[in-house]
Amino acid sequence: MTRLARIAASAPVPVFAAIGPGRQAETERLLARPGLRRADTARDAAILLVAGDLPEAAAPALARLHDQLPRPRVTLRWQGEGADETETALTGAWRELCAGGPDEEDRLPDAPTNAWRGVGPHGQGGEGMMGGTPYGRPMAMTGADIRDGLQLDRYSATLGPFAPMLPPGMVLDLTLQGDVICEAAVAEPPFAQPAEADAPALCAARLLRLLGLEKAARRVIGGRRPGALWITGAVPPGLGRIGGADLRARLAAWLADRPVTVPAFDLPALLAGAEWCEAMLILASLPPSELIRAARRDAAA
């Protein structure tokens, strides 16, 4: 390996985790180890770690996710081995990639999801000045704003099963105006996770990552104090209030290593009108078991 490749190989391994049913706790603990880094976006990762057995319905999404990783990339499946073995496998794969090792081809053809070539009067898929699907993207049209009585553009999207800021397996149909969620509907509930995923350290770490405190999240998973400033103060009071306890109270309980239970709640009502960061914080502040129950209720409805 050249000298530069050796320096690159000593970097924390950028892993994007596609977490399957039952593997959330183990994967989060594994990726909190020094030497491994959990990528916040697929474009930042080199290794796709597929943990557990994913259902068939998630296979096309996994193929799309795989193609989003920039090349050279490698996929590692974690079926049931120990965490230490997987860590060694990840580090070894990263070293091979840095040394110019094997690469993986795209799984899907590079074709747009909406056909646009030749459609419309100018051939770019649009209609007139403001309509149609130019270059394959549906043009955002105005819609009533839910807060201020304005008429802002509405953007509708489906946020897929492996979004890094959502619970693993959750598919949300969202309509956004700017970064405010107007409507949220659960298309697929998150994958089932065991009780270990509700551990206070893991729940606190999820929130700390969303608050921008990556190192503090690792320390908390490792059992130490977060070592960061203004953690509970940064969360607005009264956010995500369910049955008397708001997000701040739940975060404080998890940081004090106490488990949290929440009564039944309506997930779309909790998310509607929330700004994106607040909505992601709300989702991360719910213990996974309760969130899965609420999402299943909403998806069935």
Binding site: H122, Q124, G126, G132, M139, G149, D153
Partner: protein, 207 residues
């Protein structure tokens, strides 16, 4: 006399300002149009630097960057085609606008060429910023201070008028003040009874 390098730089900046100004109307994207306008103003600010008005020139760049940034955000918020992915026609009333532009150009050009603008160069060590400060807070204080306070009042008024949070409730629910006696009829005019000068129907966003 003027130095040929300064003349050349002035010509280039002028050309750039005019070209980016023209691009504002030729790009299909409203965001790109905002930033082309910003580039045009930056060129004008640079000309201000050449004219020994460093504060005015740099402050023009500062203000225009902020203003065009806000305009770009408004384009993304409200315009349904901010990226210009569909071709757009952004000019209305072609004939009138061409005539108005020509008239303005000829008028301003005549004003500049036929009048006698001062041509004495500023001495190199003149404290231009201090002199500008003395002017703003001396002879021109009334104009600038009233303009500043008026602008501030306008901004605050616009925000309050457009806010949903009315004084007695949500503005789009027709907030009404409480009654003069406890439980009595709300005081003041009831909304929706008088039509006003004429209803303006909102025609949603034009290109």
């Amino acid at each position: 006399m003027t130095d040929p390098v300064t003349d050349l730089v002035l010509l280039l900046l002028t050309g750039f300002a005019v070209w980016t100004g023209w691009r504002v109307f030729r790009v299909d994207s409203m965001v790109r149009a905002s930033f082309s306008l910003m580039l045009s103003f930056i060129a004008v600010g640079a000309i201000g630097l050449l004219l020994s008005a460093p504060y005015i020139g740099i402050a023009t760049v500062f203000m225009m960057a902020v203003e065009m940034m806000v305009m770009a955000i408004f384009m993304v918020m409200f315009m349904m085609n901010p990226a210009g992915l569909n071709p757009m026609m952004m000019v209305h009333q072609h004939g009138v606008s061409i005539a108005a532009g020509l008239a303005a150009f000829l008028g301003l050009g005549a004003a500049i060429l036929l009048s006698a603008p001062p041509s004495d160069p500023v001495p190199p060590q003149a404290p231009v910023v201090a002199q500008l400060g003395h002017e703003l807070l001396g002879p021109s204080m009334l104009i600038f201070e009233t303009a500043g306070v008026t602008l501030l009042a306008t901004m605050v008024g616009a925000v309050i008028l457009s806010s949903r949070q009315g004084r007695h409730g949500a503005a789009d629910e027709g907030s009404r003040p409480p009654g003069l006696t406890a439980g009595g009829a709300p005081a003041g005019r009831t909304p929706g009874e008088e039509g006003g000068p004429g209803h303006h129907h909102h025609h949603g966003g034009h290109g």
